[in-house]
Symmetry: C2
Subunit: 313 residues, 2 copies
Amino acid sequence: MTVLILTSDEDVTADMVVARLYATGTPVLRLDPADLPGKATLSVEYRDGDVHGDLSVHGRTVCVHALRSVWMRRPGEPAAHAAHASPWLTAETRQALFGMLHSSPARWMNHPHSAEQARLKPWQLRVAHHSGFAVPPTVFTTAPRMAREFAEQHREVVVKAASGPPRGGPGPELMLPTTLIGPDADFAAVAAGPALLQRYIPKRADIRLTSVGTRLFAARKTAEPHQIDGRYGDTGHLWEPVTAPERIQASVREYVTRAGLAYAAFDFAEDLDGTWWFLECNQGGQFGFVELESGLPISAAVAGWLTDGDGAE
Amino acid sequence: MTVLILTSDEDVTADMVVARLYATGTPVLRLDPADLPGKATLSVEYRDGDVHGDLSVHGRTVCVHALRSVWMRRPGEPAAHAAHASPWLTAETRQALFGMLHSSPARWMNHPHSAEQARLKPWQLRVAHHSGFAVPPTVFTTAPRMAREFAEQHREVVVKAASGPPRGGPGPELMLPTTLIGPDADFAAVAAGPALLQRYIPKRADIRLTSVGTRLFAARKTAEPHQIDGRYGDTGHLWEPVTAPERIQASVREYVTRAGLAYAAFDFAEDLDGTWWFLECNQGGQFGFVELESGLPISAAVAGWLTDGDGAE
């Protein structure tokens, strides 16, 4: 029974998990859907009332029924590397690959449908609230008046991207750090593109909590006074293991159950009173940097889940 | 309580339903997500543990909690018509619009997650089989050898697109009719793009069965001998109402329940013995042409579902 890892070639986080899987002797097939067709071939056949499928990468062939799990780590667009790439070839190749995989009995980390829903920020905030987290007031608007009223009400607000930084453009990847603004900002540009504004939480630490199946790994990094976004640049502090309060652990379990996520990376701001405020839950968040600094055994947990699930089967 | 219709401006099928909704006095808001932001504004705010959202189109504003239903008819890409359109603006605008709509209590025709899965052909064939339909053997492959062996085994096979015709290119829309081929065809090109091959079913009629909630509308069009694809060109025959066999009705209900579809358009080939063979189920299939020829009241049924659901609530 093989673990299928869908990701691009350069992915250190995936490398860490692959090393663990090799160490335990679990067969692994790694594929970037962008290399389909070309470096890989696939066939899916419907006959006798069932779907039979084979996937071959670098001469190794795996039957779709022999897939133990699928890790949607950071897959490229299907057929993106093809000699005659086109939106249509991408659509056809997606049909072939995911049509086949959706017919396999494999576990998913994460299932594409759960992942798609879990990416939506407004949806996240509502589920976070219903899971018992403290959630800062947030507005997402194309109306300058709404943005200004929100900033006037809360005085200090941060503006951030809902979908992450722009990718895939011609230039270098843009960094888009969360930025603090006040009610005197110019909100006219909001009409040209939706802005996500959130009440600023003065914090004494950033928290990254990684959920893998039923296991939780929390890390804490002290924040400088008035620090807004600790993701970019060196703050002089490192990620250190921390024990999540029991109330937070219960909320995390509630959230991932509602969202149907086998893997999730939660970001919290720890305020001056010690409250953990839910900022976001990234279903595809990196964990390599946290593991390297904190020593938390996240890649081993991911490898374990891909091999055995939560051990319940 | 308002019905939200997400579709492009030119959509005769939507026009038919809008006319029905107007006739019954049901408030309607029609929006092409491509016109966001610009012709429409939206705000979604998280406060006090709930999501509040407003959507304004042409000066009419609807609260997200006052949405009765959302019809995903043929929506454009979010922000595609924006002055500074970009993949990132599309991603942010999708976040804002669908994040808001996923927080509303509205019924969906169809829910995006069900729609996404239901588009996958290999998945369709398996679900069709488990729902009791007769399904022709099919292969979907990037391996020329597999394609040739399939054609040799079944002698007469059709090749078709899995994802529909190419769209959105610079030239006119390409037509891609299903084509009959034999085992002597050249299968080398299969390595460059996956090919979907299916055993040819000699047929005496095409069947289009439209499922709207719990209501079924079947139409039949006589086929010329040796006709392959009756969708393009004039065959001299019209769509006429027909009663679906009870076994087919039961299978349709099973399929749409498994797939979670409020709307679905099934295509069958009626063979020389009268068996209906499942060819595909298009969760977003047109129905205007069938209604106009056959007189089947499909648009009224869609309007009814958008207004009242299946009447069960």
